[in-house]
Amino acid sequence: MRIERDVCGSVRMDLSARIDGESAFLDDSAIEAHLASCGACRSFEGSLHKLRRAMRIREADVVPDLTDRILAALPPGGERPIPLGTHFRTAGLAAAASFILLWGATWIGGQRPADSASAAAIVGQVRGAARSVSSYTATFEIVERNWSAALPMRRFVASVALSAPENFHLRVEDVSPSVAGYIRQEYDLRAGPRRWRARLPAICAPAAPPRCRPSSPSSLSRNGRQPFDGTAFVPTDVVLPLETLSSTSDLRLLGTRTIGGREAVGVRVSLGTATPLLHSLDPFGIWRPFHPQDEVDLWLDPESWFPLRFEVRAARGPERELWAARAGVVDRPGEMILKAAVVGGIGEGVPGQQPPRRADASTSGGFREEGFDSLEQGPAYVARLEPYRAGSTSTGDRVVTYSSGLAWLKVTRSRLQPMGVDDFLQSEELRVGSRFLYYRPATVDRPRQVDVYGDRSQLRFESNLPREQLVRIALSSPVHGTRARPARGGAVRRTTLNRLQEQGIVKIPGWMPDGYGSSGAFIVDGPGPRASVVLRYRRAEFDSSTAGIVITQSFQDVLPPTSEEPVVVPVGEVLARWSLERGELAFVDDGIYVSIMVPSFDLAAATAIARGLL
């Protein structure tokens, strides 16, 4: 009896640590085994979750404002001199610009790499600002160049209004010069928590003269949508560039300048990284094409971190010229090909109401609002977000969501199903003790995700919170997290880089672009004796590509045929084939076929990876 009580005491202490996400040294299998046979401890676990919820929903304290009292109590004397005898400005420069001066970042025109501490601070500041944004309005003037020889410059005016977390309005007016055959590409997208409606733009081909036709249907609507369902694009990154600036890789500081009478902090990223920002002002893709290596200069208000202006400049190099020829655009290297700038200032405001009108095409999301259930066992840790909406989908999945400002979290509980092969291949398997989680970075089409599989159900966590917080949230859930198997059974098996290196049958790349890390290694069975080894690499927070960088190797001594005109690229002593359309560099070396797919169609990166394999 005494021994049983000690075991229960130990398990209950572990359960207490587990709901805090402190799972690193816990033996989950032993805990689960004990819970399976001890009703008292199962009841205790339930009480822990209820207590946690009760502490979170406790009565709010009325916090006194003590700032004036504290400042009045400081020793007199004003500012103390800086040790070297110099003073720095405190008026007119916001905190971010001040720290940029202190850290010695480059000024405009300089090309020094970003100071990592300053870049990290900007990323942190943008993340932190997300919770304090409740409403936003702004008008952008957009100038686009070289869309068509007949219309080398187009102009748009975009009005954005947002009321966090899900009310928004994006209206784009086309104020381009009139040209025969051109139909102005204007649209209006409005969304609320439960429905959205869009008037769609005309469809235009940039021929000479342009060939346009009205879109059909001309308007769409969706009712009964789930919270944060992704079917209506919320232009979050034009309000705060949360995904564009989700990590410091590919981020260079430009310094500060004055824009429209406001101090602004500048950063430079590749267009691939800035895809969420551009997509937020161009959700229907009416702008001209850009190359992923084109550079984007983004200027931010250092107090609010709202974008004030961004510019896209054509990258340089023969690869971009080759792409431009195939895309039908004529850009000069370094030319500014898109500019979007706030006009008239940024303010607080809510999207205007408009009487509902029937759309040409309507769909229903089938979501049923049900509210939060006090008995529900959700994640114990939700990063201090507040309960937002909860309900059920048409397929019976339970959805609960949390938000604070622009930051949000969605938890979907569904019946246990095998993991889809695509999800299996794109997921990074994280192991914490005996628990398994499956992580996927955010892309243009979907948010950051973590899947956790239990015995009878599975949870999907989706959020725009950073990876570390999302993983911690998932770890605080009551679902254990078993190892997932793909729907195709044994045809795809997960392995590890260490195991592959020990076996010595495949090559492991010695170089990856900045910000990329291994997200999984797989063995894919093929017909006959042919099996392939697939290595995947992703960026941690946001990846412009769904697949990331994919390196496939198999025993094969010829390249597969292609219908594309081959572009031959020497890689060391090997001749490789470059496919511009697929972004794939392929070659055979010593009887092993190697394919390197890079999402940004960056031949230089693919070549560097290939050299690291030879």
Partner: protein, 180 residues
Amino acid sequence: MREPDPGEIDAAARGDRGAFERLVRRYQPEVWRLALHIVRDGRLAEDVAQEAFLRVYRFLPRFKGDSTFSTWLYSITRNCAIDVLKRSGRQAEIVDRLRNRPGPSAIDPGVRMDIKEAIWELTLELREPLVLIDMFEMTYGEVARILGVPVGTVKSRVFRARNRLIDALGSEPREVQGED
């Protein structure tokens, strides 16, 4: 608690009153809340918050970043709270609490309590880590650093605190309606 950017701290350390004021405005509510849960008196919590920020102002040039700013700030707040309690004449009560001897307002297991009351009835030794974990969402490592104890001790105290609260509140902790 969001960490301030290094430039803000540096500016405040160099005597920039504007930067220090921004730190105060941002963190004062959290400092007051933490103080309130330690001293259990709103007026005393105000004294603690003022004292804590005065110490921050005085010692900020010595802050080397070997912990997060919030960990450093919470440590100072805690120390100030203990000092204020002592100055207010509650030393005996502190000793009793730290030695796990229940005071006059012991938890009556027969009475269902408001959760805030139940938290405040915990000894300081159990209340501090619980508040830092559950209300300030710190990690065990951060709390261990603030309290100057091993991580295992934090784990044990949080568990004991929750155990007591579950017993005190009965099987169904009564939830106070929060703000929307």
